[in-house]
Subunit: 579 residues, 2 copies
């Protein structure tokens, strides 16, 4: 990966440079965050011409390393105002890496009103006008079909959906997956940044690319084998996720009393059987047809937590049907019918809007009287309005913080204006520390303390107690920042957390690829340095420790069934970033 | 003024205490801001049970001092997240002061869903259930009629309109004026705070109250006379404002090239004659009927800048028809018909929504495609929807920052999420420093540098140059914080800025009333101390110098006709608060 591509959308000029030396050892989140910190003015407007957006494959992307196909996207976020890295599956990362492209930077802003498609291949970069038929409300499923027909069925595609075209703060970036469906860099509104630059899509065609060079192929193969075994041997990474998808968590979290219900007014629901991973699996199996219990979101995935959810006639409705989405609509918004939830999930993918932000926005809108509680049909209709967008669609597309503002609510579950996902921080205290302190705004993937608090993988910490949580949330965030830089799916953590050999194999693969000698300590240092860079950006953008706080209602509204409140002091919370 | 009243809306308990010693010498903004800083947790949610709202007459309110009838309201703002003082005319302040009430604090939050009316008189405080007919969309004009019929025609009334009931971030607090119409504590959404506490209205009945005690009545009378003469002798305070209202500024600002047009994309309009103060005056005069060219917004006002604007049949449409509102709708949103603007102004008053925030939100919504440019009828219809509220009404009632978010705009004219009013900061640099640095969020009244930049009252500074602006913006903010503590209308500044005797007379009145010996230096110190308290609150709430910035587009989009950009460096801006 020796090419560093810049596309200036003001001038439509393309520059293909060698990778700057300072970025040579970085990939994924480490690269996107360092780049944004280096080149984006922290106080700039996220939708103005001075923001820049960067796509970067992880360090291991493009290789045969299992689960190494995550693509990182970075920019200043229009949702949170913070620095943002959001990563996704799909085939984009592997193809970019194979084509030797370390990063694509899109900067500037056109003065005309046209939308464009940026196409990269091994020969260079072209900027085309976007086909009219994929604009103006065309859904992502259709747009991928049209773009695949035009640019080739096997190309990788990154796409701003209708939500991104309208620069809505919850717009995601959708990436074509191996079967032509989508995965998303969901959080933080990066689709709106792409839309602000009038880039409808980015195409990567790796035709003619050779294999990614590996310095020590034998060592790489050996390490890769150990690593794959570590994943497959683990009950969560190797079995649970493939069988039930991430939705396996519904029953686990409900049992733990940490499944936020009815806009975070309780921690448990009665209709968990309607929406659980077990029901999801049984329904897919029973309906057959195009349904798939398990598939991978990117080439090389061996965890295969995704699935195709079919309708009663066996026809595909949606894929990548994640726990957090199902929780948001099913528990937080109280929609009891899994089919209703599936159609809404499909719609959100088709519009290109973050399914976590939107599901929580929907639940908050229900509390605010904008939508009837638990009404899946009404929600589907409302979510469709995001593509137009109608005023209601704009409110929902504005994200949970906007809904809270226009409904005058104090129970608005956001940190740094990003929606709190599917794990209540009162009875699961570790995850609350991640929500509060990560530079990303509320984000479970930034330090998944559910692992040690609930799943007891990698650690065993009482979720109801404060003991050990600060150190754990710190370690998880540091480790995650490092993993997010490798191109690895976060779920590899389950396979290596309690398996030192598996962890070493991950490091060995990097060393074998690049001919270097990283140690575990180096990896920690990398994670720490990424977090420090991100935090410094946020500080310059105006964020302080006062923003590292959960919404106040968590402090005085107890969460049933455990009837506990959020009770970390500001001083304790601030200890998480004491490194 | 020896009573300090607290109403706890959680328990419905009322406490009437002596004024705490630390607040004895404070009034108006000095009192509200010190109180909020003392008792409100800066990181609390502005619409949660831990915010408190305080009403405080100025130091001179209740006396015969001309123009001393402003009431200050303070709380944490749901619009900006900062500390907020918003003040208003009407008869409330004078009556509260006469009844001996230094402050009314409303705290807590009911657990039921009813709305209440708090009634204060010289005997005590009662809490009644609000009459059903003033709830659920009843306009303020009607509500004042009903409340006056119930509590007495002469009572003072503070009111949360439909916008406040719905806790919209732009909701104002409306105060009954001497003729039964309204004035507003407009900015910062304090009506939403009142609404969150389920207080529909506060009544002050001063029946039976004696005169406010004056330590040295003779000295007071003498000073009052000098002060009144200073106001009446001044061409702006004594003549211009009475003749043309604040709308006199349309032609002045247009001529100066600092009248923001079409969502801040230019500094001058061609249709200024349609909406100017001269036209306003001529129209009122010509139409006759209930029209009044000039009247005072509170008892004791001798500047009389307000007016009653009648329809073609001479029937009252609206009063308090201010320049900033007319600018916002007429120039920023491009509505060319003054009658259209008047009907919208009436509607905003009736709904209880800040006419500056809403007018700018309307213009921003036009840029975002939510409303057609310049269409007064469409805007009236949209503004009416705020009372319902429909989704569009909620977006507009959410304020300009929300409109910018849901429309994905970078040209969103706000500072600290509060709309920038009627003076472009690029060609009038002094006011830009006030917008950027005042603890209130963009607010021209926090340091009205238009005075020395454009009107050449009190100073003569080239508006297009940076020289002298930092010191001037600092001095104006300090002086304003002091004036806001006296109960004086800000326009007294015009009368005393170039008249040392007039200024001394203001100080003499305070000294004569309280039997003290304040000097001009003490007044400055008071102003400085208020700003420091406010800024400390904001800092603890998470605000930093990075928030003391204008929107980025001012830095790179030149404003015609002078074609200048905002060019103060961050370091220069930060010098304003170097005291």
């Amino acid at each position: 990966m020796n090419k560093f591509i810049r596309v200036d959308m003001t001038t439509k000029q393309v520059t293909v440079d060698e990778v700057p030396a300072k970025y040579a050892g970085l990939g994924g989140r480490a690269l996107t965050s360092n780049f944004v910190a280096d080149e984006v003015k922290p106080t700039c407007h996220a939708l103005g011409k001075n923001n820049k957006i960067i796509f970067a494959p992880g360090l291991l992307s493009g290789t045969t390393a299992p689960n190494s196909g995550r693509i990182s996207v970075g920019a200043k976020s229009p949702l949170t105002g913070t620095i943002k890295e959001s990563n996704s599956g799909g085939s984009f990362s592997q193809k970019m890496a194979k084509a030797g492209i370390k990063a694509l930077v899109i900067e500037g802003m056109p003065t005309d009103d046209k939308f464009y498609v940026i196409k990269m291949d091994i020969n260079g970069v072209t900027i085309d006008e976007a086909p009219a038929e994929i604009l103006g409300g065309c859904g992502n499923y259709k747009a991928i079909e049209i773009l695949s027909a035009k640019y080739g069925e096997k190309v990788g595609i990154a796409l701003a959906g209708p939500a991104g075209e309208h620069r809505l703060p919850s717009a995601n970036i959708s990436f074509k997956d191996p079967e032509g469906n989508m995965r998303s860099a969901g959080r933080g509104g990066l689709g709106a940044v792409l839309g602000s630059k009038k880039v409808k899509a980015v195409i990567i065609d790796d035709t003619g690319a050779g294999a990614v060079p590996i310095a020590d192929p034998e060592k790489f193969r050996a390490a890769s084998k150990v690593f794959a075994k570590a994943l497959l041997d683990h009950p969560v990474a190797g079995q649970g996720l493939a069988a039930y998808g991430t939705d396996v968590l519904v029953n686990i979290l409900n049992e733990a009393g940490g499944l936020p219900a009815k806009n975070f007014t309780a921690g448990r629901i009665d209709h968990n059987d309607n929406i659980s991973g077990e029901t999801l699996n049984a329904t897919i199996t029973e309906r057959g047809g195009e349904g798939k219990v398990s598939h991978g979101c990117h080439p090389g995935c061996i965890i295969r937590c995704s699935q195709w959810y079919p309708d009663k006639d066996g026809k595909y409705i949606t894929s990548g049907f994640e726990y957090e989405t199902i929780w948001g609509l099913g528990a937080d918004a109280g929609i009891q019918d899994l089919d209703d939830i599936a159609y809404i999930d499909r719609e959100m993918d088709d519009i290109g809007i973050d399914s976590i932000e939107t599901a929580v926005a929907v639940a908050t809108a229900m509390e605010g009287g904008l939508l009837p509680w638990g009404d899946g049909k009404a929600v589907l209709d409302a979510v469709k309005q995001i593509a137009v967008p109608t005023p209601l669609g704009r409110i929902l597309g504005g994200g949970t913080a906007v809904v809270g503002k226009v409904c005058g609510l104090f129970r608005t579950p956001v940190v740094k204006d990003q929606a709190i996902p599917a794990y209540d921080p009162r009875p699961i205290k570790g995850i609350g520390l991640t929500y509060a302190t990560t530079p990303m705004g509320a984000d479970h993937t930034a330090g998944y303390c559910i692992s040690g608090n609930i799943l007891k993988v990698g650690a065993d910490i009482d979720p109801l107690k404060k003991e050990g949580q600060i150190e754990y949330a710190r370690a998880m965030q540091i480790g995650t920042a490092a993993v997010d830089s490798t191109g690895m799916c976060l779920f590899v953590y389950f396979g290596i957390a309690d398996n030192p050999g598996g962890y070493q194999a991950l490091i060995d693969m990097i060393n074998a690829q690049y001919g270097i000698e990283l140690t575990a300590a180096d990896v920690d240092k990398l994670g720490e340095s990424v977090l420090k860079v991100e935090r410094a950006f946020n500080k310059a953008a105006g964020f302080t420790n006062a923003h590292d706080r959960l919404p106040e209602f968590f402090e005085y509204e107890p969460c049933s069934p455990h009837n506990v409140v959020w009770d970390f002091s500001p001083e304790e919370i601030d200890e998480v970033y004491n490194f």
